[in-house]
Amino acid sequence: MSGAIPASLGDLPEIQYLSLNANKLSGVIPDNLIEATDTLLGIDVRYNAVHSPNTTLITALNQKHPVASPSIDLTASQTIDAEGLLVTDTRVFDVDLAWDTVAYTDHEGGYRIYLSSVTPDVFTQQADVAGKASTSVTVTALTNCTPYRAIVHSYTTAHTGEPAIPLNNNNANEVESDGELGNVVEFTTYGCSAIPVIDLPIPASSISELAKNGTGVATVAATDADGDPLYYSITAGNTGGVFAINNAGVITVADTLDYETTPVYTLSIEVSDGVNVASAPESVRIDILNENDTAPVPSVGAITEPSESAAIGTAVVTISATDADGTTSFIYSMTGTAFAIDSASGVITVNAVLDYETTPSYTETVTVSDGVNEATVDVTINIGNENDNTPVPSVGIISPPSESAEIGTLVAAISATDADGTTSFIYSMTGTAFAIDSVSGVITLNTVLDYETTPSYTETVTVSDGVNESTIDVTINIVKANDNAPALSAAITHPTENAPVGTVVAKITATDPDGDTFFTYSIIRGNDDGAFAINGSGVITVATSLDYETTNSYLLTVAVSDVVNTATIDITINVINVEVDIGGCSVRSGAAFDPVLLFWIGLSLVYLMRKRPIVISEVPPPE
């Protein structure tokens, strides 16, 4: 039952016996209950969480109490039974107890454990377990191999703020209970006198070095005549703490094993019942089984650098390996196809035609396997270069020589390149007209030229890198010299005045010792008023109407050029008078061509003709 004691109970007119003890009643005992004490023969409110500040009431209740002395102090802490007390674990020197909570609606409280180890019971109080919600405690410092009886009470804190009445022993109601109202549990601590006995010898065992944590390895068996629980421990030999032993004596893997580090363990074992200890030093031998659990360690031997001309199958380098697991045979493989590796011996050989110029160096990855684990190593193989390429010549500059050039004149320069990287070459050439410097490739004139005899040479230049050679044809055109001015003559037909424009008055004829056949003509002086014009053939014609009465004679200077050299000739054109009387007027013949215009046309022609290439090129001009 819970809640407060109803005040109405004091109204029961004939009540004689009222038993409310051992509930979870709380709060203040109603003063009204004193009304019932007239008829009451017995009342019991113990083992609740009730209290009262009313000394008159407490005195009256104590007088009716079934246990007259000592009386109940209802002004301070009250204890009531906590139910469901259980022993959850018993050990050598301590015990775990648990119980159900007691629900108080007010006041903080806790639980109080009492233990007795004698008969009849003499319960002694253990430390309080504070907190109303507490449900368990571990009682320590017990004596081994001893039977105990335990009870638990709950308590509330003193009801402060209310007058304390020094009536009785505060603990009186707790002692009185002596377990009768609480549930008593019994237990016996372990660790009795018999010494555990370990079953010896313990068979040797073995375990793979790859075993996972928790894997069972061996079992240590032990017995105890008292039936005490036994506690197992590994006291020596457990290097690295790689093994654990539980209290069933089972040794399990607790950390990573490594045969290569520790191939065998010899463990010392102790078995204890908490008091008595049995030892079995160096009693458990555990062999670690080697596993292929480490990767090979490859190494690269001395590399014999292969020439690019190396034959297929030429050995280059040997890859070898070692393995902590003791493996001696490995499987080799590698990337790429330029080289091959023997899967068993690790010898790398040339496997393709090499070309330094294409790939001067290879870096391949070699994989070494021990069948389970593998490792890789990068191998760099440099290719030896060979002079296996021919030079590639080219004509650097060419300067066509004049036929009058002096011996030694620079004519051309030949250069060469070589894929092998060669930079010095040996030059030679055919013929004797030119000479080539064997080192620099510079071609110079080596003879007196004569355009008229040999206007062009084509010679073959040979370039050697010492092993391989190649040739190139060089054509050298000779530049003809133009060093004479044309020789001029004139045939003159004197015009009449009024001669039509276009009437031929003169023909200039030019000849040239250099053989020039193309000339330009121009009237450079005396062609006042533009009276005459001259064409590209040296023909001078009337350009405007001549008038004898105005000018009866012209002194013309005609210039003729062979482009390089210019000659002049002076000619005199006389105008023949014609008198025609037409109505008293003299009519003059008009000039057919403006001589000034003709002059500019002539100049233009000269200009145009000069634009034409006159140079000597390496390509012979068409016939």
Binding site: S2, L9, L12, N23, G42, E180
Partner: protein, 271 residues
Amino acid sequence: MKWECSLGSGRLNQVKSKPLKMRVFSGCVGGLGIAMRRNSNLTRIYLQSLFVILAAAFGATTARAVIPVAEHDALMALHSATNGAGWTVSTNWGGANGTECTWFGVTCDGVDDASSTTVTKLNLAGNGLNGAIPTTLSDLTGLTELYLGNNSLTGTIPPSLGTLNNLTTLSMYSNSLTGSIPGKLGDLSNLVNLSLSENELDGSIPAKLGGLSNLQTLYLQSNRLSGDIPSELAKLTELTHLSLHANLLTGAIPVSLSGLPHITWLSLNAN
């Protein structure tokens, strides 16, 4: 004080190992001790009562009256169901028809009437009965008092007992009865004493018990009754003894219990 003392003697005769019952044992002995110290007349009253009962039983042994067949069958059913062969005392049980009123513990009405009679009282308390109570026990329609306490009865309380309208006393304390208290018992309007204590009854206290308007003693202690105390019990205005201790009752003490003007014994402890 008679019923309390009778119960007290019953407890003293048995040995219980269960801690729950030990608690009750202690509490009641304490209460009884106080009572006896304070009123020495109690012992005398108890012995006088016992003498009267025994005298009545011996008087019935001379009767030769016929009870209804149903009542005969009901008695034989009880004998059979509770291992009559193992009873401590079974004098005359199984005798010829017409001898029922001489069987041990059987009391009939109108024993001087040669023609017919009926069983009015059956007292087999503390007689080693072992087994379940037959439902047909309710065929003893003339019963006014039924004492089956301090035996080894098992099973549930037949609700049919609620039809025994003449019952004034129903006592089945200190057995191993299970299940809940039939609400049907609330129909026993003439009941004065009801004792079902020290069994293994569970469930809640039926509110219908508030209908027992003549009830003076209600003993339900030392069971596994749970839940609240029904406020209907306040209607039992004739009640002098209410004993509900050593159960699993929860909740608050009903304020309405102050409506019990004649209550002298109220035990709610150990809940």
